[in-house]
Amino acid sequence: MSRYFAPTTAAEAAALLAEHGGARVVAGGTDLVVAARGGKHRMPEVLIAIHGATDLASLVENEDGVRLGALTSHAWIERSPLIGSHWSALADASALVGSPATRANGTLGGNLMNASPAMDTGAPLLVFEADVELLSLRGTRTVPVADLLAGAGRTTAEPDELLTSVRLPDLPPATGSAYVRLEHRRAMEIAVVGAAALVTLGDDGRVADCRVALSAAAPTCVRAREAEDLLRGLRPDGASFRDAAALATGAVQPITDVRASARYRRAMISVVVSRALAVAAARAAGTDIAVPANRNLPTVTAGSTG
């Protein structure tokens, strides 16, 4: 028989986690409960439901960027003018998660801690070099998202640690970002492959800085650093993006599953990276491309992925 706790503060939740080994945290319940009902794993013996811990739903803005509480919902991110204008790739990603009902319940913290390689928010958080705060009775520690993700369904958080917030660092001017995924339908879908890109343009109009990350291409969401290195200093045009995309493809070993063959996935990584770079560069140059980028791709990138 499962035991169920509903703490009202983060501290209380951390205390419960320390007390009950093997307890699992549930926020929106869109992953844990669905997977258990689908027979992927048993319902855990102890559930700690944090949706009532209001201090996990906070939003803090300061000169370092913005800190989003773990309970921040995809629906909020999707609609936030702040996120949409500054950290567009994250808004692009949250806007694609599941259905309107999933986005209303599903949280940023839950998406990260579920650690699916196909999660939509992972690649954007990697290109922002975001970090998370983990709380336990031993105190608080800060971990980059890149170090948090350890494998399919695995994180480096200790079993008694609670993810309390995600920090999005401030970005330099003339920076744009985007997340684009390949999908087979426009709702209730997970990425076949996905890519986030961040582009900062220099005064000369060339790429001053750039970051690329992939989802559903490896056991975790991963950066494609060779692609980034190639692009720095180049003109932000289709040819450069395609060359960078080819390098991104080389960085991963995609798998064959029911959604796609490895061969197709490999080819599609190149497509989504090119498209994400194109949107990010356009946004960096001040072009308004609405969220989610997936459904509003500029015509130069030939059609939509959806």
Partner: protein, 762 residues
């Protein structure tokens, strides 16, 4: 008086369904209810060495554990009696039921299933249809020759039904042709996927059992229970609460007897509710995977001279009602075209996969898709626009169909022209990757006996007691309009008693688009009897002649003298002291048009199409050439349905059918690893969502028939799903410049076709 026929009518069960008040089988509550779980083979083909249920039976909360040893040794099946309730000596597909458990909680039942020890000797599964037909192939049913069959079924070793359709001299036809084109098309297995999973509750009182079931066919399901449990049909009452869709997947007899057996052993009511995984793996009625080979001869001017066709249906482990698919698929290979010389054969092949059977328009969409892709390729071969090619070959009044039936009138061309006009064929102002694709087709109306009673109540309302089954299409709800039309009343004045074998007279169930077509005639006949009695009684009360009376606005009145009238309520009330206002009807089915089956072979259940209807779909698609992704922003669907009884209902069927078909066209298909489904769930097996649904331009044409349904109506439920995938396929080919010869036309398949064409994947 204004007729109700052709007016928009909102179905009576809508509000309770959308507000969550409607109760479905899984919602029913019973004292002492137990929960059923099945133990499945989870392997494609094996011999059972031993089954040990001792441990399971001793577990806490477990009240019954049953296997074939607890059931009468009866082989059942609609066409071929090839199946037992539980696995007997062997298992033939992964979802074969080996044992069933009833326990106090679903978790206890599941744990007990896991505690049943079964020792198997695995055998190499038979999976490929071509291999299965070779004489060297092992047999899915080694004892096939000893099975009983329905009359006329012709079989082979791994073939539970083969048929041929022959017209003219196909070799002579090819000799006349300037071009001969041979192509092969293949479709994957697809599922019905109703929103409500299968559920059954069984409760015994003495030797009688009441079964609440999610069946589309209560009477055949009752017969299945009686046959397999060896009890009289009169001891079985089958009730269907609200049904959450079926799409054919809930036709035929399924799991009612398993649950009844558990309830009998447990001496408690038992409920089974399928999980979504079970809906994919354990249901035994999916759309066949198929292989369709077509060879057609055409003259330089586009005239079709001959066609040879061979269809192989992967029918899985058991025959079930699969021969409907075989028979109808055979009747689709010529399409609504003049094909003077034809030789077509079709085989229903046993393999160790999920049994296939009727899914909405069995044999329709996949055959129409293959034939219509082939048609566009023929048009290309002779250099004609696809629309013009069809114009030159479509059947017209006076032509004969593939089995020689003479078309009295044919709206095929009208549908084509109207659809072309609405969709703006051949299209302009295309975005990159956009194109239009066209498809035409035909479908039939199924004649069958079907019964109904009508009675008038003392308060002036009426009650229809029908054997018909409402599957969600609204067809049973629409019966009220037909009765109201006869009796000068309003549809909302009728209540309907339905879906209970103890109250309604016989009906085949919600299958073959037959409810309105057949039960509608029964209701009109029953209401007609009431009308006669009502007029007689009213004439007596009004001291007028019967023939001077009319029934209008809920009153019987003297024609031309509106003041001389009686409310129907008072006539009905008065009749309670004399002869009651009740009637019955059995809607005698019209006979098939004349046809000629010389040279044909096998059980040809659809040897001619009664009251055939025609349609044309035109799809606008957008192909993303970099990814192969196909989106469908717009579909134009023009259908002729004889007489439109309720435009709202007919439009709903067409819109729903088109949207359902887009899934079949681009997404839906089971993937297999040997004998195991790889995507038995709603994430892996993708239906399209509301966000993907196109704009659907529906136009309904009328061409009433004398030998048809009520007021000249034809079947509506199935035709809308037949043509959409075909139109999308042709649009994809036009947009991509290459053809995908596999259904569904997934992004990866389109991408592969695009890149193979460019030689990149050689």
């Amino acid at each position: 008086m204004t007729s109700l026929i052709g007016q928009k009518f909102v179905r009576g069960d809508g509000l309770e369904k959308v507000t969550g008040q409607a109760r479905y089988t899984a919602d029913l509550a019973f004292t002492g209810l137990l929960h059923a779980k099945f133990l499945y083979a989870e392997r494609a083909r094996a011999r059972i060495v031993d089954i040990d249920i001792t441990a399971a039976r001793a577990m806490r909360g477990v009240h019954a554990v049953v296997t074939q040893a607890d059931a009468p040794m009866v082989r059942y099946g609609m066409f071929v009696k090839d199946r037992t309730l539980f696995a007997h000596e062997v298992v033939r597909f992964e979802g074969e039921i080996v044992a069933a458990v009833a326990a106090e909680t679903p978790e206890q039942a599941e744990a007990a299933c896991a505690a049943i020890r079964v020792v198997y000797e695995d055998l190499d599964p038979i999976l490929d249809v071509e291999e299965a037909l070779k004489s060297s192939s092992p047999l899915v049913h080694p004892d096939w020759k000893s099975y009983q069959t329905q009359n006329g079924v012709e079989r082979g070793p791994n073939d539970c039904g083969h048929m041929t359709s022959v017209k003219g001299d196909v070799e002579a036809g090819f000799a006349e042709a300037d071009h001969i084109l041979t192509e092969t098309y293949q479709s994957d297995m697809a599922h019905a996927v109703p929103i409500e999973p299968h559920a059954v509750v069984a409760q015994w009182q003495g030797d009688k059992v009441t079964i609440w079931s999610t069946s589309q066919v209560p009477f055949p399901a009752r017969a299945g229970v009686a046959e397999t449990l060896q009890i009289p049909q009169s001891n079985v009452r089958l009730v269907v609460p609200h049904l959450g869709g079926g799409f054919g997947g809930k036709c035929d007899f399924h799991f009612e007897a398993h649950v009844a057996l558990l309830a009998r052993q447990a001496r408690r009511p038992v409920r089974l509710v399928f999980t979504r995984r079970e809906e994919f793996v354990a249901t035994d009625k999916v759309r066949h995977a198929s292989k369709i080979e077509l060879t057609t001869g055409v003259k330089a001017d586009g005239t079709i001279t001959a066609r040879r066709a061979r269809i192989l249906l992967n029918s899985g482990a058991y025959c079930g009602d699969a021969l409907f698919t075989t028979e109808i698929g055979l009747m689709m290979v010529a399409g609504p075209y003049r094909v003077p010389n034809l030789h077509a054969e079709v085989h229903t092949v046993y393999t160790n996969r999920t049994p296939a059977g009727s899914v909405r328009a069995p044999g329709g969409p996949e055959t129409c898709w293959a034939v219509e892709q082939h048609t566009d390729e023929l048009a290309r071969r002779v250099g004609l626009d696809p629309l013009e090619f069809r114009r030159r070959n479509l059947v017209q009044a006076g032509d004969t169909g593939q089995t020689g039936q003479r078309f009295i009138s044919s709206s095929a061309k009208e549908c084509l022209e109207r659809a072309a006009e609405i969709a703006g064929w051949p299209g302009k102002d295309f975005a990159p990757g956009e194109a239009l694709g066209i498809a035409v087709g035909w479908w039939f109306s199924l004649p069958a006996s079907s019964g109904a009673y009508v009675k008038l109540n003392a308060d002036g309302t009426g009650t229809i007691v029908t054997g018909a089954q409402e599957n969600g299409s609204g067809s049973v709800m629409g019966l009220a309009t037909l009765a109201a039309e006869e009796l000068g009343m309003r549809p909302d004045q009728f209540s309907i008693v339905y879906q209970d074998t103890e109250s309604g007279p016989f009906d085949l169930g919600s299958a073959g688009s037959q409810t309105t077509f057949n039960n509608g005639r029964a209701v009109i006949e029953a209401a007609g009897e009431v009308r006669t009695k009502l007029l007689r009684k009213a004439a007596e009360m009004l001291e007028a002649a019967e023939e001077d009376l009319e029934l209008v606005d809920g009153a019987a009145r003297v024609r031309g003298v509106p003041s001389k009238a009686l409310p129907i309520a008072s006539v009905a009330a008065a009749s309670q002291t004399s002869s009651l206002l009740i009637g019955s009807g059995s809607g005698n089915p019209p006979s098939l048009p004349e046809h000629d089956l010389s040279g044909c072979g096998g059980r040809l259940g659809y040897s001619a199409f009664l009251a055939p209807s025609f349609f044309c779909h035109i799809a606008r698609v957008r192909v993303d050439e970099e990814t192969g992704t196909v989106s469908v922003p717009e579909v134009t669907a023009v259908h002729e349905f004889g007489r439109i009884l309720n435009p709202l209902g007919a439009q709903g069927q067409v819109e729903g059918g088109v949207i359902q078909s887009i899934g079949m066209a681009v997404l839906e298909g089971s993937q297999y690893d040997g004998g195991r489904q790889l995507n038995p769930g709603l994430l892996g097996y993708k239906l399209i969502t509301a966000a993907d649904a196109p704009r659907v331009n529906v136009e309904l044409l009328e061409d009433p028939v004398d030998h048809g349904g009520p007021h000249g109506a034809k079947a509506v439920g199935e035709p809308p799903v037949v043509g959409t995938a075909a139109a999308i396929g042709n649009a994809v080919a036009a947009a991509a410049g290459t053809r995908v010869r596999a259904l569904p036309m997934t992004a990866e398949r389109v991408w592969t076709a695009l890149h193979e064409q460019e030689g990149e994947l050689a």
